[in-house]
């Protein structure tokens, strides 16, 4: 009885056969005043359509948590949903903001996400995260 319960529990964790495998590339970047990339790091994660990938970025007193979920459409396009949670500042006077954005892109299209907003507002540096989704061929 316990064996069957364990098997059922394990089966629940298996991805459904109809969910395609996706290759997600996440490249966070820091830009300077001249809009030049002064820091970047490439992150690659294989995932399943509909399964979120979380990226945590710590930049000094700024914490960025991105939950990226990709869904595949029959026409080979992708629906990318990005939920951003940003926390900035020390404990006293801490600013935080959450947002959810979605975008349908054709296969191969690159998207960019500005977790702190697109406007600089006098900030010396700016953060953006480039995303790229492609199907994993069997």
């Amino acid at each position: 009885m316990a064996l069957f319960l364990t098997i059922g529990f394990a089966l629940a964790d298996l991805p459904a056969q109809e969910e395609p495998l996706l290759h997600l590339t996440v490249v966070p970047r820091i830009l300077n005043d001249a809009v030049q990339v002064i820091w970047e790091q490439t992150l690659i994660q294989d995932t399943v359509a509909g399964r979120p990938v979380v990226v945590n970025l710590e930049v000094g007193s700024t914490s960025v948590r991105l939950t990226i979920t990709c869904y595949s459409a029959p026409d080979l396009s992708y629906l990318i949903v990005v939920q951003g949670f940003v926390r900035q500042g020390e404990v006293a006077g801490r600013n935080w903001r959450t947002s959810v954005q979605s975008l349908i892109v054709p296969a191969g299209e690159r998207v960019v996400y500005f977790p702190l907003g697109r406007e600089r507002r006098g900030a010396k540096h700016q953060m953006l995260v480039e995303l790229h989704v492609e199907a994993v061929l069997p």
């Binding site: 394990a10 399964r51 945590n56 951003g84 903001r97 954005q101 702190l116 907003g117």
Partner: protein
Amino acid sequence: MNPKMLISAHVDHEVEEPWATRVDELIRQDREMEAEAQLHHKVKHQLAEAPWPAIEDSQIAVWSRLQALAPREALVKPTTFLPWWSYPAVAAVLAFVLGSGFWLGTHSAPASQNLAELKVQVPGQYSLQLSGDGQLLKVSTMEGGAP
């Protein structure tokens, strides 16, 4: 040797001399020996007078008594199989347990187990400003997504 043991043989004239004479003297002198000898004579005479046993009738009688005995209960083969109706019941229970495990797996697993989580500690000091909500744009057209 106990002389009493020779009484039976003596009555059947099977004791040789000089022991036969000696047994005769003991029988005459000892009452216990005499009684023993008389008992043996009596038994021998009764056996001689008894009718010849009906062996076949005896065999039939014994066999009849044996057959009249309560028959031994047949060995009950231990049942190793369940009743026919129990198989679908067992299958239903196992399917229920399997489904319960599957349901528990989909509903109770902590989110972290289903999430791939990447952590990046950006080195250096950068001046970042939280200016607004996050924005998702296509690189090719810089068109934004829907909130």
